[in-house]
Structures are given as structure tokens and as C-alpha cells.
Amino acid sequence: MARRIVITSGKGGVGKTTVCVNLGTQLSKMGKKVLIVDADFGLNNLDIVMGIENKIVYDIYDIIQGKCRARQAIVNDFFNDNLYVLPATKCAFKPAITNESLKGIIDEVDTHFDYVLFDCPAGVDNGFLRAVCLAYEAIIVTTPHISAVRDAEKVCNILKTMGIDILNIVINRARGDLMISGESLSITSIVDFLDAKLIGVVPEDDEINNQLLVGGEVTTGSQAYISFKKIAKMIVYGKEDIYDVMKKYKGAIGLIRRKLKKII
């Protein structure tokens, strides 16, 4: 049976889909067979981020309606043979999409995969609950902004109440220069507030922007790529190796970098 992990946040725009896609990519590069389920019905963007929007023929709703089998709806990624996607329906309000119907689909397919990642919608309403009840573990994505941390804390409490005990945090869009100069919440304080295990820090990186524009993978060797690789290793092997976003801004050269960044 696959490890089922929901990627959630509470607040929108913090990078759930980006984390989901890049984590799935890195896990698949490690030889794991990964299925990413787009559980964000109505506002689905996973296909665009992955650049597979033209490959989709069927979606989850078609499976529920009996128009196709689950295996027919699953789409293989362009770049990674081990990475698959189960696309969401474009309409959010389909009464046939129930927790039970979704659970039935996932139960049917998860034996073929090592990891099933759920891209959860923002908010804590029905869509969120639908995604969460399919998973056994959660990754809460937040940014170092007060509003995102506040929402992430609420989500942590809800997940604990729902019986999901394995809660991991990924801090996305972290700016090492601002953290060093004290203009951003620190990693330590975010972890303290959320009371969950930190598994990764992803730096603010222009390469992510390029990935979102073109679709597909983030450039190999970029800061974001390295940080996602570390997160994937942490998930698979449990070995703690957090990307140090402040490293390049430490010391004399780091100080020059920070000053230059302010000027530019």
C-alpha cells in the first residue's frame, strides 16, 4: 500500500501545488512510483504546473460516472516515467463526488504506487476535508508571513483533531537575506508556533516562476531543485537535512550580497 500524503496549507497562494509537483518529481527520480491526485476541484492547476494539460482525456468525475476506468484517467508525466497524475474535474459542485467515491478510486489504484500525494485546495471547507480524509500523513506548506503561519496553525489543529498524527511542515518562499537581517519571521519561530516537524525549507527562487510559466520541472541544480531533493530524501529515509536558506547571506560576501539585493 502506498504512503498517502496530503499537501495542504489553509491559506491560498503559498505554493501547495508547486511543492506537490516538485516533491512528486523528486520522489519519482529516486525510483519511487508516485501518483499525484489533484484534489482541488474547480480551481485545478496541477496540470498546468506540470505542463500536461493537453494530455488529459478523462478526470476523476469521469471515473465516478463510469465513463472510464481509473487507470485510463491517470496521465503519465512527460519527463518522469515514475510520475503519474490523476486530474481533477473542472467543476467543483458535482454531488456525485463524495468522500466515499473518491476513497474507492484511491483504494483501487494505490496498490500500484509507492506514494500518493494529494494536492489540497485552499481553505478548510468541504474540498479540504475531502482531500484530507484520503490521506494518512500531511505536509503543511507555509510561507514566512504572519497570515500564512496563522492559517497553517489552524490547519494543524484541524488535522490533529481528524486523527492525522504525522504532520510535517515545509516553509516555502523563504528569503535568507530577510531572515538574517530580521525582516522576516525566523524558521525557528515558525516551527515553534506550528508545533509540527520541519522537513524542509524552500528558498524564493526565480526558477519556480519559470517552471510555472513553461510547465514541467524546475531547473536541475537550482536552489529550489536542491531543497526539494532534500525534502524527498527526508520523506523516504527520514534523514534530517534541511536546506539552509541563510547560508549564502552569511559572512562578508553574504553581507555584500544582501546589500546588493537591497540596491537592485
Binding site: 504572519i146 503561519v149 496563522r150 537581517s181 530580521g182 525582516e183 519571521l185 525566523s186 519561530s189 508556533f193
Partner: protein, 82 residues
């Protein structure tokens, strides 16, 4: 405001916000908690609904503090508790 005090200000602001959020939720729990505590206590003592007072407060570190006060009329004899 200098940068280090900005970080402290930000952390304090977030802390206050989270504590305030937590203060809103206990009201919903208190009623349910009270009836369940009463159910358990009745096995061991003579206590009425209006004798028990359940209160949840938030301490400065963000932890919940549960305070239960009950006026008990009589304790049941242990050997007779089935």
C-alpha cells in the same frame, strides 16, 4: 523600527493573534466537556449540574489551562461502587 525589533514585533503580533484565535474555540468545547465530566464524576460523588464549573483559559505560552471546580455533596463509598 530597526530590523531586529521588527522580527520581535512580528513574532509577538503572531503570538497574540494565535492566542486570540484559541480563546474563541474553548467556548464551544466547554459545554460538551462539562457534561462528560459530570457523567464521570457522578460515578464517584453526588454532584449536580449547577455544582460544576468548567473553564478553559489560555496561558501566556499559548497552552490551554483547564480549571474544573465542583461542589460535591457526598462521596460514594468506594467498596460499593460497581
Amino acid at each position: 523600527m530597526d530590523n531586529s525589533s521588527m522580527q520581535n514585533y512580528c513574532e509577538n503580533r503572531l503570538k497574540k493573534m494565535l492566542i486570540k484565535d484559541k480563546q474563541d474555540s474553548p467556548q464551544k468545547v466547554t459545554g460538551v466537556l462539562k457534561s462528560e465530566i459530570l457523567y464521570v464524576l457522578k460515578n464517584y460523588m453526588e454532584v449536580k449540574d449547577y455544582d460544576i464549573d468548567v473553564d478553559i483559559t489560555i496561558s501566556d505560552n499559548g497552552y490551554y489551562k483547564l480549571i474544573i471546580q465542583a461542589d460535591c455533596r457526598n462521596l460514594k463509598t468506594v467498596s460499593y461502587i460497581s
